[in-house]
Amino acid sequence: MQFKSQAVAKPYFIAAIGLFVAQVLFGLIMGLQYVIGDFLFPAIPFNVARMVHTNALIVWLLMGFMGSAYYLVPEESERELHSPKLALALFWIFLVAAALTVLGYLLVPYASLAKMTGNDLLPTMGREFLEQPLITKVGIVIVALGFLFNLSMTVLKGRKTAISTVLLLGLWGLAIFFLFSFYNPDNVVRDKYYWWFVVHLWVEGVWELILGAILAFVLIKVTGVDREVIEKWLYVIITLTLITGIIGTGHHYYWIGTPEYWQWWGSVFSALEPIPFFAMTVFAFNMVNRRRREHPNRVATLWALGTGVMAFLGAGVWGFLHTLAPVNFYTHGSQITAAHGHMAFYGAYVMVVITMISYAMPLLRGRAANSNLAQVIEMWSFWLMTIAMVFITLFLTAAGILQVWLQRVSETPMGFMATQDQISLFYWMREWAGVVFFIGLVTYIVSFFIKGSDTKAA
């Protein structure tokens, strides 16, 4: 750690991991409800568990991005953070707001929560992933503005690098596109159209800038390859990302009442979306092969390589699988979508945040890298979680293919619930893969508490 103020990243990383645990626990509850329908009903209905599962994911990834930015920006700018106090204050505001929101989901009926929190003033709730009460959404905007002010001031006063510029572009884009969550037209088609301005332009747009910047930063540190080379790659990757991904939004506009020309725009451009992810994989392996130093933190390098591969598989390959309009006609809104969502989020965003935590946390704790034993245990967690996620994805894909066949392709289509009964075997296997994932997550947390004897000083 070169600058004192980088230490503010630590609470963000710890809270992110805590919320990750909550996310996975609620995922296990939902997985069980898929096969034992009345499990925990009416205490935790499926929709409540799902809100906690998806919202916890979003918040912990945001926490991870913020922690990463607070660590990365001072080092890139070669100066202390503009205001470490503001960063810490915003951390507590964000954490308390997230905790209160989750408690609201769990303890209050959703309709009452909406009434209590001013949804009648400006109805924004009850849309997928944007379920947060109005006051939480306003809180997110305030935290984001404070965070961006703090970082932008730091960058403006310090050295400007491609990495910090791309990171800031991504983070500003994140905040700006979130503003569409306040726009909820009565017209369902227009509601859905602009809803994707948040959801798609986040995960297949500006978030990939954040991903690219974090990955580039860690690769410079662990490989010692010239900044010039890495920054050139970064620009190429994010160029490919945005020229395919922006118009690629069209792959959500096939069947929601929008005009049919979107089937062409969406199919052609989103078919190209795997290219930047493939470039990212090539980039990560290329840089590690050309490394000029043997960094003692080997597990961070493993996570960085894993991010490239799994983002390509989850976002690239599994996205391509159902992105062409004639295919999507059958797969839209099936378990195929769920399969893709799981591996893409894990491969791209979960893994890049863990890459950064894996690299930065030992430094924040005063050593260049963890002991060999701690690293080996963290590597076990890498393989357990990653392989479990591959199987979750494969089982959901199998369930999805059967679902599409029985319910949509067959000459004598079955009803939704009759189809679900037919594919429950795959839901059971997915749940067991989820248990393995949870064991991997526990192993990951255990790795932080392993001391070992060969700890090197920073």
Binding site: Q33, D38, F41, R190, V229, K232, Y235, T239
Partner: protein, 146 residues
Amino acid sequence: MSSAFTTSAARNIFYGGTVFFFLLFLALTYQNEKALPARDNRANLTPQVIAGKKIWETRNCIGCHTLLGEGAYFAPELGNVYKRRGGDKGGAEFIKAWIKAQPTGAPGRRQMPQFNLTEQELDEMVAFLKYVSEINTSNWPPNIEG
């Protein structure tokens, strides 16, 4: 990558490409707004339908169901439920009776909560689902089962 291709060239391509495709996206969005009135059934967007949409949202229906294929995959697609359950010949009665009968309490089966909707709110909910079922979705879903 060759040395002729510099970082600043890469940066310029990034900014140029991003601006170009973002403007193209805005142009398509403008065109989209122009084309929507012919497809989105806005003529039937009555106050009752709008009230129904709010009930849809404040009960978090999307947390289990899909609507035009978007949402959760735990419970049936509802974009075409009005037509699936009889359309103008009984669709409304079926949906209202179904919502009132929840949860079924059948052991081991997926359960839908009881929302205690009034008769007026049930009618609004049905009006909303009827309006959605009449949006032109390019013949999606492939069949009535959703």
